[in-house]
Symmetry: C2
Subunit: 205 residues, 2 copies
């Protein structure tokens, strides 16, 4: 019985991250364009779903970590872009709580609105700013990927967490550029897992 | 920039798991008692929060994987018992979807009701049966650990997921035995992270 879990992100992602490690990102749009670029490269490299995420240090405006969807290649349903970017940031910064030192504020950028799982991951992560591009409806309608039962007021819930640091949510930043990547994925014929099923014991959607 | 995430579970857990690898578990209570035993050992070994989880093959009634809370030791907010047990099961069985082969049904046992994050993790995991012991109220009131904004009807939501395989939820199995472990943890003075904070920028609960 193995008691270690090893998650490996794609080689191209390591290169892209290294090339941008000391780059200064001067605007919200620049950070999001880079994040959508990861989603784009994920499609062209064919290493996973059309989703990218990043964590930035909002004080220095530098890149802390990156993530892309790696569910199929890693054989792990938790391997969503947001979850991997957050885990890499926590490992890099040495804390399970990115808000531990509130002099520093860490933001999560994501090319697509978080699903029900990533909503919960963000909840406990210590991220204090969330910026997203494509909406849940964009993702579900263009690709067929599911988002799960995210509460209608998910952004307000994140902004008003009892007993946890304030979190700011900014939505639909460069939404159309993110939708373009979703359309590219849909056209590429790459797999859409969990998109519904005709297996026995499955409810119709 | 590191682009691998390695999560290591405690040594004692590997031994306990190995000792029970070919054991036949003949009832729901026996599976849950073993799961609560992991939570108990987690407290006495002082390797994390008072939570244990397991995945069982419901056809052969054998143990597939185990998990305990490892948030503090691993420096990762995703390292909840349920999430780790599910990830280990997926790695062992070679699929991100434990319901891929519906001839096999895999159950998740957890000593405490899943939090908002683990609810989302379970959603996409392919688990088709969930058995829990202590309730969210037990956990929050006895230990101070938070559960997050789990919907009131979370169990019904899991049981009625559109387009995903049927999932059965069984609650409060050996609840009192799980509460005993929570009380032991509270009395031990071990850390309760995320239990509320007086840090600047934090809302009062």
């Amino acid at each position: 019985m193995t008691l270690a879990i090893n998650i490996q992100l794609p080689e191209w992602l390591a290169s892209t991250a290294a090339e941008n490690e000391s780059r200064l990102f001067t605007s919200t749009e620049e950070k999001m364009r880079f994040t959508i670029g990861l989603a784009n490269q994920s499609v062209t490299e064919r290493t996973g779903g059309p989703f990218g995420a990043t964590v930035f240090d909002e004080e220095t405006n530098t890149l802390i970590s990156v993530g892309v969807n790696a569910v199929v290649t890693q054989g792990l349903s938790i391997a969503h872009a947001e979850t991997l970017a957050i885990a890499l940031a926590q490992k890099k910064l040495g804390s399970f709580d990115l808000a531990q030192n509130l002099q520093k504020r860490y933001s999560l950028y994501t090319s697509g609105q978080p699903c029900i799982m990533c909503f919960g991951v963000i909840w406990w992560s210590g991220i204090t700013k969330l910026v997203s591009a494509a909406t849940a409806e964009d993702i579900e309608q263009i690709t067929g990927f599911r988002e799960g039962p995210l509460p209608q007021n998910w952004a307000e819930m994140l902004e008003n967490r009892d007993g946890l640091p304030n979190l700011t949510v900014l939505r639909e930043t460069l939404r159309e550029e993110a939708c373009e990547v979703l359309r590219m994925y849909a056209a590429s014929g790459q797999p859409v897992y969990n998109a519904g099923s005709t297996r026995p014991g499955t409810k119709k959607s």
